[in-house]
């Protein structure tokens, strides 16, 4: 069943290059030939979310930092990109309540004027990189105080920062730059779905390479055991800050791509809900697997925006039912997510990553696995039965114990004795003796 497959390095590279090219060509032509609009939309949005989910996974899955600031960083990224690429001629219309705003030029136009079409794309790439770098800078500053906090405090503090950022971007005083509560639009957007796919692909490749580098190993060491990592000479703060900044950089790029995808942005949707959605993608894909995050991002987008829409509209897969009304799609979605969290905590990929060997052997073993499945299932259910029986026995015993202890209590024995104090057990400051 477990026939190991090994491919030569050259073969693997060849396969990778071929499939990447194939995907790019296909994406390009589907969009170019005006193929299925929904498919293209899902590819675009999926690519953006794949990048953001991967960046969140770098932080949550690989460095063990439970950060919930992703939406806030995307917000900064989206705005930093949009502000510098709104054509000069559109400023008056976009910033209609702020006399055309403060910035009166567009990088895209300036560079296009000098360098032609190449300049046009450069004019998009530079603000995008700027968006990433600016977000990285903000993240660096936020990281200094926040990263000293432990798990859940970190989560709540990053979430708080994201909310503060959102209020800040909606502030009327900043209106001439951010357009306050009003939407930003007319900024440069890509023409073909291949653009977000390539950018997201490159960024995800960077994240993959990082994870497999010696720094990535240090990140994972921090995740597995902070104290041991520190004892092995890993500078906790420096590495956490590094992971935080890099992750935020990509969240910023993701935000810029999302802005392009949406063609208009305002700050309202970049709320906690968005972070939660990204987090759920990471969980579905598997915490600690970039491949999983990517697959989950596409699946999540396709399901929530496309395949399950029928659940809202009364008709799905040819089944029509009165319970299929507005909101049912989200209920189904929430149920699926809870099932995954509770019963398949590993998600789709666990901590495994994509490899050609894995894929081929999966296909090869598929028929056998399918055949073996009933037996396996039977074994599993039997194991579960046993477990249940054991649990029952344990419960009975516990009951008996309790009875005994109650008897003891009755006979005047204390229920619990003062704790012995160990040198390294949790020690409290207050309530000294």
């Amino acid at each position: 069943m477990n026939n190991e497959i090994t491919l030569k390095k050259k073969t693997k590279s060849l396969l990778s290059v071929a499939s990447i090219l194939a995907i790019l060509v296909i994406v390009y032509f589907i969009d170019d030939m005006g193929g299925n609009g929904m498919l293209v939309t899902v590819i675009e949005k999926g690519a953006v979310y794949a990048l953001v989910a991967a960046s969140m996974n770098l932080l949550n899955g690989f460095t063990g930092l439970f950060s919930l600031g992703q939406a806030g960083f995307m917000l900064i990224g989206a705005y930093s990109y949009a502000i510098f690429t709104i054509p000069a001629g559109s400023h008056a219309a976009v910033y209609q309540y702020f006399d055309g705003g403060l910035i009166q030029w567009s990088l895209v136009e300036i560079l296009e004027g000098k360098l032609g079409i190449f300049g046009h794309y450069l004019g998009m790439i530079i603000p995008m990189l700027f968006a990433g770098l600016f977000v990285a800078l903000i993240a660096y500053l936020i990281g200094i105080p926040v990263l000293r906090l432990k798990s859940d405090y970190l989560a709540i503090a990053t979430l708080g920062f994201a909310e503060i950022l959102r209020a800040f971007f909606q502030w009327n005083t900043l209106g001439p730059i951010t357009n306050a509560s009003n939407v930003l639009r007319k900024y440069a957007v890509y023409k073909n779905a291949i653009f977000p796919v390539i950018i997201a692909g490159l960024c995800i490749a960077f994240i993959m390479l990082l994870i497999n580098s010696t720094y990535g190993r240090a990140f994972r060491a921090i995740r597995d055991d902070e104290i041991a990592a520190e004892a092995m000479g890993v500078n906790l703060f420096k590495h956490k800050e590094m992971a935080f900044v890099i992750s935020s950089f990509f969240a910023g790029i993701g935000g810029a791509l999302l802005a392009m995808f949406q063609t208009t942005i305002n700050a309202t949707p970049f709320a906690t809900t968005m972070t939660y959605e990204i987090l759920l993608m990471v969980v579905i894909g598997g915490i600690g697997s970039i491949t999983g995050s990517v697959i989950a991002a596409f699946l999540f987008t396709a399901c929530s925006e496309w395949w399950l829409r029928g659940l809202d509209a009364g008709m799905w897969l040819g089944i029509s039912s009165p319970i299929f009304r507005a909101g049912f799609r989200k209920v189904v979605f929430a149920v699926i997510i809870m099932l995954i969290v509770l019963f398949a905590a590993q998600g789709i990929m666990g901590t495994k990553e994509f490899s050609w060997e894995g894929l081929i052997s999966w296909f090869k073993n598929l028929p056998e696995n399918l055949k073996a499945w009933p037996a396996k299932h039977k074994a599993k259910s039997e194991a579960k039965k046993k477990e249940r029986a054991a649990a029952k026995a344990a419960k009975l015993k516990a009951k008996e114990d309790k009875k005994n202890s109650e008897a003891k209590k009755a006979s005047g024995e204390k229920l619990f004795t003062p704790l012995e104090t160990f040198d390294h057990v949790v020690v409290f400051d207050k309530e000294g003796r």
């Binding site: 920062f161 509770l342 229920l415 949790v426 409290f428 207050k430």
Partner: protein, 294 residues
């Protein structure tokens, strides 16, 4: 006198909303104290208590509705604990937090489906919504009742924790989970009781809160929940009096800020406060310092 006249309405509003946050915050702080878990779903239990009230009041008398709402919140809270948290108790901390977020997402979406996304209006409970005059300010009766009721409930709760056997068990479990289970404390029972108390208080909070701010939609629980959590952190998580003090501080400051004209940042302020307290005194006002095992 002039200053008091001007600011009285804000302070009153702050005290009222502070009391309501306090009732929610207790649930957060007690659960965190014992399970070390931010129960993200707590705000949604609060929202659901409000929703159920709307449906109940159409068929049942008021007092019975309130009783059933409290019972419902307790059942919902303990069920969440049994289904979503208990199986993950030995899992990494991140998993159980994700489960909490998942439950919150689930409860919100169910509410969205049931209500159809429409804002429902909370039934008016006659005497709570009566208008009263205090000096220059005019307000609802509930504004006055909330802080009194909150303080009475908190005193009862503190007595429960300090004087009864189950309270002692709760304190022991929050000290050291494993050791207390070795000492023969039924951990599951303690946790259930914690959820019962937390959710019951949240349900009472929901009656007071929604009598004051009458619109309920699926997201109604999110913001009060988050603020209550911040209050719990501010007061020192695990400490009941701390959570109450924190809630009043947040409620009053928030309204004073609005009164000062900084309305854009009234919500952001809560988080600024959170971050400041985490930087300066991570254990909060009354928190207990603990040292990690090595």
């Amino acid at each position: 006198m002039g200053i008091i006249q001007t600011w009285l309405p804000y302070i009153l509003a702050g005290i009222a909303v502070g009391g309501q946050y306090a009732l929610i915050a207790i649930g957060y702080t007690m659960v965190y104290g014992i399970l070390r878990l931010i129960n993200f779903a707590h705000g949604d239990v609060f929202m659901w208590s409000g929703l159920i009230m709307i449906y109940l009041i159409t068929v049942l008398p008021l007092w019975l509705s309130i009783v059933i709402v409290i019972a419902f919140a307790i059942v919902l809270g303990t069920t969440i604990e049994k289904v979503a948290y208990r199986p993950l108790r030995s899992a990494p901390r991140m998993s159980i937090m994700i489960s909490a977020i998942g439950v919150s997402y689930f409860l919100q979406n169910i509410a969205l489906y049931v209500t159809g996304g429409l804002t429902k209006t909370y039934p008016s409970i006659g005497f709570l919504q009566k208008t009263v005059h205090i000096g220059s300010a005019t307000t609802k009766m509930v504004t006055l009742i909330t802080p009194i009721l909150t303080i009475v409930l908190v005193v009862l709760l503190v007595l429960l924790i300090k004087k009864t056997k189950i309270g002692m068990a709760m304190r022991a479990v929050s000290r050291d989970f494993e050791t207390s289970s070795l000492m023969g404390i039924d951990i599951n029972r303690v946790i259930t009781v914690t959820f019962v108390i937390g959710c019951g208080l949240a349900a009472i909070g929901s009656v007071l809160y929604f009598s004051n701010y009458t619109g309920i939609n699926p997201m109604s629980g999110a913001m009060p929940g988050l603020k209550a959590f911040v209050a719990a952190v501010f007061g020192g998580i695990g400490s009941v009096p701390g959570a109450v003090v924190g809630a009043f501080v947040i409620g009053i400051c928030e309204n004073l800020i609005k009164g000062a004209g900084w309305t854009t940042f009234s919500d952001a302020f809560t988080f600024v406060l959170l971050i400041i307290i985490l930087m300066v005194k991570p254990t909060g006002l009354f928190g207990e310092k603990n040292i990690d095992k090595v």
